[in-house]
Every structure is written in structure tokens, then in C-alpha cells.
Amino acid sequence: MSPLQIKKGSSKHSAYDLRDPNAEVIETHTLTVIVDNESGVLARVIGLFSARGYNIDSLTVAEVDHLGHRSRITVVTSGTPQVIVQIKAQLERMVIVHEVHDLTVEGPSVQRELALFKVRGQGEHRIEALRLAEIFRANVVDSTLESFVFEMTGTPEKVDAFAELMRPLGLVEVARTGVAALARGA
């Protein structure tokens, strides 16, 4: 089956799915979920994903509005178009959920992730690691005679690329926060 000709996404007026449900295309979508900041909220959202067999590629959560008692969950998930639409509908019907936005569909968005890399090495490797870090605008936040810890912010792809480059240069550990995302524009 050929790739879809129709623009990704569903009509805003209804649950009408414009895409071919038979196309076994796995898509990756970034969803933003605004929820009540209550105990158990994260368990509720994660429970939905595990109970219905949906994927979580990354997930971040923090309170964003103290007075309004709201938290923002950013979840990167993957599945067929039908599954993505279903995930959104399942999230929207939860009592603690105020809003769900599919940033992948709703227009351009900014996606950033913070990552820390511990790289151990000496000599040429060490110099090369520093040089690449500069190109990627990664900061050195810890240093010993045989190791660095780099801090970097960027898209998941950029983080992946940097990790790949560091691997032969002595990468020992990576810590990533997962994606935080906002729609572009006002």
C-alpha cells in the first residue's frame, strides 16, 4: 500500500478519521496533556497506556500552574493512525484531563529535551569529545582528568546524534529528561 496522500490528522469538527485505517504505518506523535495536579494523576495516565497496550516513548510531567492546580504531561507515543486517535480520545474522556493536544498534527511545535552525558577517555578522544561538544553547544558541567559530564538541550534527534558520536569516544552513561514541547506561535 502506498504511503498516505492525505495530510496527517483528523478533522477538528468530529472524530472523523481522514486516514486509511488499513495502512499499517507507525507514526510518532507528541501529545500534551493538561491535568489536575492531584495525587494519582500520573498513575492514571500511565495506567491507561499500559492497560490498553499503547507505547510510551518518553514522558515528562511537572506542575505548571500552581494556583490553577494544573500539571502538564508531555508524552511521546507511537502507533498506527487509528491507535493515535484512540489514545487521544481515551485521554480526553478522563475526568482529571482538561486538554489534550496532538502537537504533531496541530501545527509546528518546539520540542526540547535535556540530556547529560558522561564520557570517559584520554588523549585524542578527550579532545575530540570537547570539540564535538562545542559544535553541539553542549556545556561541560563536571570534569575530572579522565572524564567529562556534558549537558545539552535539544530535540530528541539532536540528543541521539550527539550520543552516537560520543559512543566511540568513551560514553559511559546518559541521562535524558524526555521531551517537553510547546506549539509555536501566540
Binding site: Y16, A89, R93, V95
Partner: protein, 575 residues
């Protein structure tokens, strides 16, 4: 304060069982007369009784249980209510706040355990939030697609005094599901109905849940269009079984004509049904040529299993009213000629007479027992509950439901042990009505302790047990699928049901001969009090017609033909 909030919500009956962590609430219940408490024999009985109450009245059912085992015993009923969209409010006691997490006596993580199976649940740690939370719980349970909610109340919060907030002053929060359908989609629905050549209404529990107005509107539209109508197990009674457009139930054990109509239709009008796997059969062979309209209040039901061409998110009554008005305004158009041809085709399918069964010898055929029950209770103010299994399907096939809210059965979860407590809940809500639980002996034994409840509260429920000394549906599947190796599917060491009835202090009747059946049923109906009716039936009867798992709607087994190998390996794993 809890009792105050319940009164404020108009609650008349609570089903429950006391224990250490709810004693303060029970103390309040003792000191008032507005709310009636029904003491069950097991917490599972309480929640199924509340489900029966809720389904037969349209009002939320309320359950009160203690912490730990009290709460875990209602979990089956909570899942049952979630699957069948029944509004239930469970209030559970909890150990005091300062002891939570210490593995205290009868402590359980009730909100954790019930989180995936409630619409919403709350642990109330501050007394000032108690009343507000209970009001919110009732709102969530009944708004939109109904479902179960749970409020967990620690004992110290029950003892403390706090500010009571009345119902009208409570903000119900942002939770407000959409009820009115999209106008553009409703117009497309009406256009499709005007031009349809082979239409079929496929209705479900959503029509019942939407309230009596929805059933009225549905009836009006079906009559006006002359379109055929079938329904899921959950939706029986929304359109009367005696109506001229009625095809019978559809699905795995649905009628031949209903399933063929679904398969061959050109416009499918799904109103408040969710394309359950017992309905659709094999997905990629489901109704291949139809344009599908899907009306549902829950957006996650639409496009979940079957793609909808015209999805309408909204409450059934609201959508039907808008669509019906529009259809009338546009001149009540229907393609009469094509629909007439469609009916001729349907009559051909009907002539197969798929529900015919072999006339019995002296041994009672279970279908015949249900058919006689139908004949002898026709026209009565009758409510039916069931357990789960063959008898449930026979009840759905051979009993006719003329009104909504008269049929209470565990559909989505398929909970054995549902029918007896549910029948008690129905009878509590309708003290003067005839309430019959059509049961199988194995299911019935699962919650038979509730006979004590029926006797205590003088609930004259009739337990009509089709006793084949088998787990009939399991046996049927083993016959069709597992080489007739009947692994653990027979009921050994059964009690003597007549003596059991006497032990409970009610009436027992046994009937094992077809010639005596009518008189025995009349005796049951005439008795003023609970009855256990032990109807000894043919032991190896199978439930037909049947769409084997993994087959399409037009690929049904009609009767006792050679059924060996009808379900392929891929169907066998489908349950």
C-alpha cells in the same frame, strides 16, 4: 456528613456491609430513617444489587463497604459496571489517614486497586472536602457515559466534623461531556437515511442509558421509516420485541435475519452500541458494503473497532431528536420501493426460523422452559435478570422485552453470579413487580448466599434455574473446539435446591418433566415470596444459532448439525 450528602443527592437505598473502617457511617445510618440500608451477605452481592437497582431505575446505585476485603470484594462489580456503563457510587471505609501505608489491619490500597476500573476515584484526606467530593462523585457517575466511581474515606475523616456543603453549591468541575451532536454530521445522517436501500438500525445500551425519551424517539423513527431494527444484548427493550420492524438480537448468538441484515446492509445506523467483538465477528468481514453512522456519547468508542463514516458524538436522545426533526422538516423521505425489496429479502431469512428447536420428549428443553416462561408471564409488569452462559443467551432469544430498563444482564464483563443479587436490587426498587432471575445452576451458586438477603427483606424474587448439571457454555465450546474433552465443565455435588430453599426459609420447586412445566411455573408466579425453581433440563443442549469465533456474520451455525471443526485454529484463540 456522608449520610447528609447522600440524602442531598436523593439517595433512597444503600446496599452494603459494615466493618471496622465504616462504623462511624453505619452509626449515622442507624440514627436516621430517610435512607434504607440493605444488608447483603457478601460485598459482591451489594454491588450487583446496586447495579440491578441502577439499571431498572436509571438512578445511580449506591454501595457502602469497609476497607481492605470489603473494598476488594466489590472490584468485580466495579469492572462489571464499567463495561456495561452503569452509574454506581461506591463508598468505602479506609484506615485512619495517619495509618495509611503502614500495612494496618484491613488496609488495602483501594484507590490504587480501583483506579483502572472506575471512571474516577478519590481518597478523601480532609473532612472539609468530603461533602464536595461525594457530590462530585455522583456527577461523574451519571454524566456522559455512566460508570462506577469510588470514594475512599479514612475512619478519622468520618469521625471528624467539618463544614457541610450542599449539593447545588458544589462546582462539578470541568467534567461536562458533550450531549448535542454535530449539526453537519446529523444532516449527513438524515441524507443517508433518505436514500438508503438496505438500511438497518443497530442499537445498544446507549439508548437505554440515555433515558426513556431516547427509546420513545427511536420507536417513533423506526415506525416512521419502516426500517428493520436489531439490538445488542444491552439494548434489548429499547424497541419492543413485538414491534413489526424487530429482527431480534444480533451477534454471536443473535438471529439469522439480524446478522444477515447487518452483513448485507448498505446503511448501518448504530445508535449507542460499541461494535463489541461478540457483535462484529471477524472485523475484516464485518458488513463489507455498508456506510456506517455511529452515534455515541463516548468519543473513544467511535473508530475504536470499526471505522465510522458518519460519527456523531452526543447523547442518543439529543441526537435522535435533532435528526428526527430535520428528517421531518425535509419531508420524511424514504426510499420505500428499495426498502420494500430489502424487507422481502429479510422475510426470506426470517423463514429459516433460526430459533426453532426440536420438540422435546419428556425431558425439558431449556429453550422450551424459557419460551413457556415468556408465554406465562406475558403482559405482566416483569423484570428479568440473568446470570451468564447458555441460559443468558436463551433468555435473550426467547423472552420478549417491550420496555427499556426491564432487562438486567452482565454483558461486557460476563460476570457469573450477577443475576441473583441483581434481581434483589431490582425488587427493592420495584417492590410490586415480578422479578425473575433466569439462571444456570453453576452461575447461581456463585452468589447463592444472597438468598438470605432476599428472605430478610421479603424480596419475592423468582430464581428460575435451568439446571443441566453442566457449565453449559463452557461445555459447548469444549464440544466445538476441544475435541469433546469436557475438562471440569460439569457440576458435581450439587445441592438439593428444594431443600436449600427450605433451609433459607423460602419456597423450592423442582420440575423435571415437560408435562408438569406450565403448572410448576404458575406455582412459582403465584407464590408470594422468594422461590428457587430447579428446572431440570436436557444436559447436552447447545445454544444456537451461533457465529463461531473468527467467522463472518453470514457464516452461522444454525443447529445440531455436524459441528466438528467449524472453528479454525485462529478462531479458537479468540475466545
Amino acid at each position: 456528613m456522608v449520610v447528609e450528602a447522600l440524602k442531598d443527592q436523593g439517595v433512597e437505598v444503600v446496599f452494603g456491609y459494615p466493618g471496622g473502617a465504616v462504623l462511624p457511617i453505619y452509626d449515622e445510618i442507624f440514627q436516621q430513617n430517610d435512607i434504607r440500608h440493605i444488608l447483603v451477605r457478601h460485598e459482591q452481592g451489594a454491588i450487583h444489587a446496586a447495579e440491578g437497582y441502577a439499571r431498572s431505575t436509571g438512578k445511580p446505585g449506591v454501595v457502602l463497604v469497609t476497607s481492605g476485603p470489603g473494598a476488594t470484594n466489590v472490584v468485580t462489580g466495579i469492572v462489571d459496571a464499567l463495561m456495561d456503563s452503569i452509574p454506581i457510587v461506591v463508598l468505602s471505609g479506609q484506615v485512619p489517614t495517619f495509618m495509611i501505608g503502614s500495612d494496618a489491619f484491613q488496609e488495602g490500597d483501594t484507590v490504587g486497586i480501583t483506579r483502572p476500573c472506575t471512571k474516577m476515584n478519590w481518597l478523601v484526606k480532609e473532612t472539609d472536602k468530603l461533602a464536595e467530593t461525594i457530590h462530585q462523585a455522583f456527577h461523574v457517575a451519571t454524566a456522559g457515559r455512566p460508570g462506577p466511581v469510588l470514594v475512599d474515606i479514612p475512619k478519622d475523616v468520618q469521625f471528624a466534623t467539618g463544614a457541610y456543603v450542599e449539593k447545588p453549591t458544589v462546582q462539578t468541575g470541568h467534567y461536562a461531556p458533550r450531549v448535542a451532536g454535530d449539526a453537519e454530521m446529523i444532516e449527513r445522517m438524515v441524507e443517508l437515511i433518505e436514500t438508503a436501500e438496505k438500511p438497518v438500525f443497530y442499537t445498544g445500551g446507549g439508548v437505554i442509558n440515555s433515558g426513556p425519551a431516547a427509546s420513545q424517539l427511536l420507536r417513533e423513527w423506526v415506525e416512521a421509516t419502516g426500517f428493520p431494527i436489531t439490538s445488542t444484548l444491552m439494548g434489548l427493550g429499547a424497541y419492543p420485541a413485538s414491534g413489526k420492524s424487530w429482527l431480534g438480537m444480533l451477534g454471536m448468538h443473535g438471529t439469522y435475519q439480524a446478522n444477515w441484515a447487518m452483513h448485507d446492509c448498505d446503511v448501518m445506523i448504530n445508535i449507542g452500541a460499541r461494535f463489541d467483538d461478540r457483535i462484529t465477528g471477524r472485523i475484516n468481514a464485518f458488513s463489507p458494503g455498508s456506510t456506517r453512522i455511529h452515534v455515541d456519547i463516548d468519543p473513544s468508542s467511535v473508530n475504536k473497532v470499526i471505522r465510522a463514516d458518519v460519527p456523531i458524538i452526543g447523547d442518543v436522545a439529543h441526537v435522535l431528536e435533532a435528526a428526527l426533526d430535520l428528517w421531518k422538516a425535509r419531508g420524511r423521505k424514504v426510499n420505500r420501493e428499495a426498502v420494500g425489496r430489502w424487507w422481502a429479502q429479510i422475510e426470506e431469512w426470517k423463514s429459516v426460523d433460526c430459533l426453532a428447536y426440536k420438540p422435546g420428549s419428556s425431558v425439558i428443553r431449556p429453550q422450551h422452559a424459557v419460551a413457556r416462561l415468556e408465554a406465562l408471564t406475558k403482559g405482566m409488569d416483569r423484570y428479568i435478570t440473568t446470570e451468564v452462559g447458555q441460559h443468558q443467551m436463551w433468555a435473550a432469544q426467547y423472552l420478549g422485552f417491550e420496555e427499556p430498563n426491564r432487562w438486567m444482564t452482565s454483558g461486557g464483563l460476563g460476570t457469573m453470579g450477577y443475576g441473583l443479587p441483581a434481581s434483589i436490587g431490582v425488587q427493592i426498587a420495584h417492590p410490586d413487580a415480578l422479578v425473575i432471575n433466569v439462571a444456570g445452576e453453576a452461575s447461581w451458586l456463585m452468589n447463592m448466599q444472597e438468598m438470605g438477603t432476599a428472605v430478610q427483606y421479603r424480596a419475592p424474587v423468582k430464581q428460575f434455574i435451568l439446571n443441566n448439571e453442566r457449565l453449559g457454555m463452557v461445555r459447548q465450546w469444549q464440544e466445538l473446539l476441544h475435541g469433546e474433552r469436557y475438562s471440569h465443565s460439569w457440576s458435581e455435588a450439587l445441592p438439593d435446591f428444594v431443600k436449600l430453599a427450605e433451609a433459607f426459609g423460602c419456597k423450592g420447586i423442582r420440575c423435571d418433566n415437560e408435562a408438569d412445566l406450565d403448572d410448576a411455573i404458575r406455582e412459582m408466579l403465584a407464590y408470594d415470596g422468594p422461590v428457587i425453581f430447579d428446572c431440570i433440563v436436557e444436559k447436552h443442549e447447545n445454544c444456537f444459532p451461533m457465529i463461531p469465533s473468527g467467522n463472518a456474520h453470514n457464516d452461522m451455525i444454525l443447529g445440531e448439525v455436524d459441528t466438528q471443526g467449524v472453528i479454525g485454529a485462529s478462531g479458537a484463540v479468540l475466545v
